[in-house]
Amino acid sequence: MLARIAAAASVIAAAVPAMGQDTSRTGVHIGLNYQPGTKPGVVVLPIVGPGGDTAHAMIQRDLDYADALNVISDIDPGLGSITVNYPLLEKLGAAAVVQAFLAPTSLHVIVHDVVKRRVLLTRDFALPAAVGSAEWRMAIHDATDWAQQAITGSRGIAASRIAFIRDGQVYITDTDGADTRPVTQKGGGPLSPSWQPTGRFLTYSFFGARGTQIAVLDLTAGSARALSATPTGLNSTPTFSPDGNSIVYTHGDENGTDLYLVPAFGAEPARRITVGHGSDNTQPTFSPDGRRLAFTSGRSGHPEVYIVNIDGTEPDLLTPFQFGDDIYRASPNWSPDGRLVAFESRVNGRFQIETIALRDHTVKQLTSDGINEDPKWAPDGRHLVFTSNRTGVRQLFVLDAESGRTRQLTFGGPARLPSWSRSLATP
């Protein structure tokens, strides 16, 4: 196999043209030259070996789902998997080529710049022996995300997971809908699962004997524990801080609900953040720098999205409303790049997904089909997962906020309250 890879490399090296032929734009050092808003073409060459067809299909689909590249399929298989015919690929509209070679325990990936007729980057990815296993598939997703970054400069989102609620249990699924499974037992009615940045832990609320409590689930150990700070009253909508060490959640007894901060893995008491004077203050979401929170508050008489510093100072309305209207805005989620907050807003009696820009408070409506709720950003800050009843029962859908392209993620029993993990890629 190694010999074959070496042979392939030599063929490719021979195919690399003189740099003098390069007439493309200059100035981009990582990734291809392409203009924002356009989708460069990419060809994924067939992959030979056990699981090669599966890996090839996965890479094509992952790149397609990421919406950053135009995947050119249905190409002549005669292109082969070894020689890279740059002139032909360019005629097909490809700006880049992804080529991969399977070895028993690794995947060797080569990304070609078709315009410059040379290899852009190469990398080896460790592969579990069990072809098609969850770990094997995640390694393929990881390789795809890396290849996308090599081509476009921004990492893909295939190697991440989405948690959600189905049938009274916390479920997780891969971004392509594979490996969908419950990670909690039946009972307790868990709600609001939220990932810890490492992807190892999930936090969620459940109905306990004396109130609603917060749990932290260790997916590696398969064990969950309830936060000692939350034995009674309402404790819900937990979210991890960006550093993964703290949890902010809403707590209420008899005088409204307010946000509290508690160490995620200690036994210290919680510290109060908001002072809502009897109103509802819930659904916290961290700014990427961990210094601020967006949250839903009913303090004005109806739900709106507010922002507050993590120490509770400077609470401020984010979503605009006119006094006296009955607008209902909730479920904020701060984008990973910090520029936008997605939320759900009642429009003509039905909830739709909208974003608001932090800089100029520009509001953009992203959905209009059915009732759409619970938006959560993907790690790329471009895609959103949300709940929609557009096909009947509630299911999760993934939306490209730039193009509006939408795909259904979950099928089967009703699904809701998603949370998108950070990238689970190997560094």
Partner: protein, 194 residues
């Protein structure tokens, strides 16, 4: 003698009399000897009639008490309903809560769990907070009317436990509710004196 044991004695007595009546053999066939009613037989008839009246009266008292207990129980668990996205107690809700107060007062052992619920519209997560506020509203009203706060637990189920399905306003309005669950002291419920 406490009211409770007096009622208990009455019920036992009523039961005994009723049993005695049931076992009374049929009246003997008329004697072939022509004889006028004697003082003794007249007394017996009077006595039986009295016993029958007493048994009827006690049975009525028992039924009244039983229906009183049932009425008290249903008043205790009667739901209250809310307007959309509101946690204010309506006038109808106040009347329903007012009816619970005397029953809670004469049954100091009773503990109630107030369960706040919402309709399915809006954010499931925000609805948990709204349900909590609805449960807290009822607790606040009852404590303001003299009920010890320690006897009232509250929990929110948000939109998670609907009693009516569908997207009609009728279903929504049935689901926007507080439920009242007797969690302790529900046996031997006492009712107010007439």
């Amino acid at each position: 003698m406490s009211r409770r044991s007096r009622i208990g004695s009455l019920l036992i007595l009523a039961g005994a009399v009723a049993a005695a009546c049931a076992k009374t053999p049929p009246a003997p066939a008329p004697s072939p000897v022509r004889a006028g009613p004697t003082v003794d037989s007249s007394r017996i008839r009077d006595s039986l009639a009295n016993a029958k009246r007493m048994a009827d009266s006690l049975a009525a008292e028992r039924d009244r008490l039983a229906s009183g207990v049932a009425a008290a129980r249903s008043a205790l668990v009667a739901k209250i309903f809310f307007d959309y996205d509101k946690s204010d107690i309506t006038d109808q809700g106040k009347a329903i809560l007012d009816a619970k107060v005397p029953i809670l007062n004469i049954n100091p052992g009773i503990r109630i769990r107030v369960e706040g619920n919402t309709d399915r519209r809006g954010s499931d997560e925000y609805n948990l907070a709204l349900g909590q506020r609805r449960a807290a509203s009822a607790k606040r009203y009852l404590t303001e009317h003299g009920i010890d706060a320690s006897r009232l637990d509250i929990i929110s189920y948000g939109a998670e436990r609907p009693v009516a399905e569908g997207d009609a306003e009728d279903a929504y309005s049935q689901n926007r509710r507080d439920e009242f669950v007797i969690v302790a002291g529900g046996d031997n419920l006492k009712v107010a004196a007439q």
